[in-house]
Symmetry: C2
Subunit: 131 residues, 2 copies
Amino acid sequence: MTIEEVSKKYNLTQDTIRYYEKIGLIPEVPRTKSGIRDFDETSCRWIEFIKCMRSAGMSIEVLIEYVTLFKKGRETVDARKNLLVEQRQKLLEKQEEIKATIERLDYKINLYTEIVQGKRKDFLEDINEQP
Amino acid sequence: MTIEEVSKKYNLTQDTIRYYEKIGLIPEVPRTKSGIRDFDETSCRWIEFIKCMRSAGMSIEVLIEYVTLFKKGRETVDARKNLLVEQRQKLLEKQEEIKATIERLDYKINLYTEIVQGKRKDFLEDINEQP
DNA sequence: TATTGGCTTAGAGCTAACTCTAGGTGATAA
DNA sequence: TTATCACCTAGAGTTAGCTCTAAGCCAATA
């Protein structure tokens, strides 16, 4: 698979994919004899995996650490597991923050709706408005 | 309230608070006659609100837009509501991405646990390991 | 054979969101 | 009254994560 195909398949720019390989965020991609990247199944899986983790906000630094451990083979299974457990915890916390913010937005949106509908005349005075 | 107190109360650096005011992310904070910030109830509410929104990942750009609308008074209620609805939608999407990633991590963590426990001998061959 | 087009690299440039620095002011304690 | 200390500003610097540029290589087509 060429970089163009992979780029379209995963909706990442070619620059981003090359950058990810350069910094070790994905293992080295196989090349043709003339030096052109030829993505195989494994490379694609890595890209998909990294894309998923990045989309949730996991940092590149942590992911490079994971890939580095992975490349060292089975003696790092435990370390890798710990890393993932730690990151999972962070995502849970983030999820909570987002949940709380959505609830807050719901409250405010509801208030604004009532104001628009003409109920809540009290809030039509600027002086009573709160952030 | 001094900036130091506010900084401690909301766990933001003084620099960050001054920066937020400078770029219009919070409305201007009242000052003493000698020009020192003297945070009142309203200023604090703004800081708390912005901190909450930022912690969920809302962009500074969007929040400045909200504050700008807010300052224009009640004729912007509708626009403000739309802005919040839009951002709520984005947070929902983010929540979904995080949820999917957590599930994926759960799967991998479980797999690693089994490998560590000596079940899953198949995965102890490097060759079979997948990202 | 010449040119096109997609690939390559190294490295510079960019954006968001802070964070730090330098130099200055004003209230208070010694 | 001098020194300290928290505050102030403008503006430079930093970090993460890309994104772009320039210059060059190679395979396929005119």
